[in-house]
């Protein structure tokens, strides 16, 4: 029915806009804190692209949600003095793969991690 369809559209549009605002705020925070730290080695690419890996039923499957969020991000980045682009990219099997990557990062240091965990 039309009323429900309109309500659904309004709440999801608000959600996408707030989520984009949140990501954008964190992106600006990254720029500011990287500059404060004096780091100049962050970019692994020449285009100042920042990728946001995403996961979750709403952002993946709700009709039009991802596109709307991306559009808000594009608009916000255009207002920013910081260079670059924010791109939402889907991360599949992220829970399992992410845990595996984390373990690989600490791979040779597990005994130290275990001691630290017990003593923390």
């Amino acid at each position: 029915m039309a009323v429900l369809s309109t309500l659904a559209s309004l709440v999801t549009r608000r959600s996408a806009a707030l989520l984009a605002a949140s990501v954008f705020a964190l992106w600006e925070l990254r720029h500011e804190t990287e500059a404060e730290a004096g780091f100049t080695d962050d970019n692994d690419n020449d285009d100042n692209d920042t990728k946001v890996a995403f996961n979750g039923s709403v952002i993946e499957h709700y009709p039009g949600y991802r596109a709307r969020c991306q559009a808000h991000l594009d608009d916000l980045v255009a207002t920013s003095p910081h260079p670059g682009h924010i791109e939402l990219v889907p991360a599949l099997e992220s829970s399992i793969l992410g845990a595996a990557v984390a373990l690989a990062c600490v791979g040779g240091e597990v005994p130290d991690v275990a001691v630290d965990a017990a003593g923390a």
């Binding site: 404060e36 890996a53 630290d116 965990a117």
Partner: protein
Amino acid sequence: MGKGFLATRGLLGQDLGAVVEAACARAGLAVTLGALVNDGSATLLSQAYGHAATRFGLILGTGTNAAVLLPVSALAAAKFDGRPPAWRAAARRVIVNTELGMFGQRGLPRTRWDDRLRARHPRPDFQPLEHLLAGFYLGEVCRLALVEAAEAGVVFGGFLPPSLETPYSLDTETLSKIAA
């Protein structure tokens, strides 16, 4: 904690890695826990592994969260008190679990249906942003507006369908089917 689980009982202040290892040991499982990551961090790591420009992990399903890679200097030194000196000497950046859903105490515009949702919520101020944008709550905000509209005689001929009487009975999956 935000989804109504009671899993934190007896665990606050403890190291989760040690808790998990102890539980495995009691069950006779020889397990060493090398890493423990949440969904936002796992999403960031899984994508960063293959795509160098990845700096964020973003979750939006039932709940919402974000993980971000920030310089260590962006955080108060006390945040790293539990870490070994070797880590603190070598670390330049760190993955931060933002708990994004907990932001938004002030400054975000709310409708009266948001206020009604919070009035009935067991922890109304715990995750303000989550209540405004996460999947668990999108349907409920719509339902609260429909309840008011039915009471005002604007929809359903003034009678609220029984299926909409229960809080959280309208879920986001239903909204997505309407939107398709």
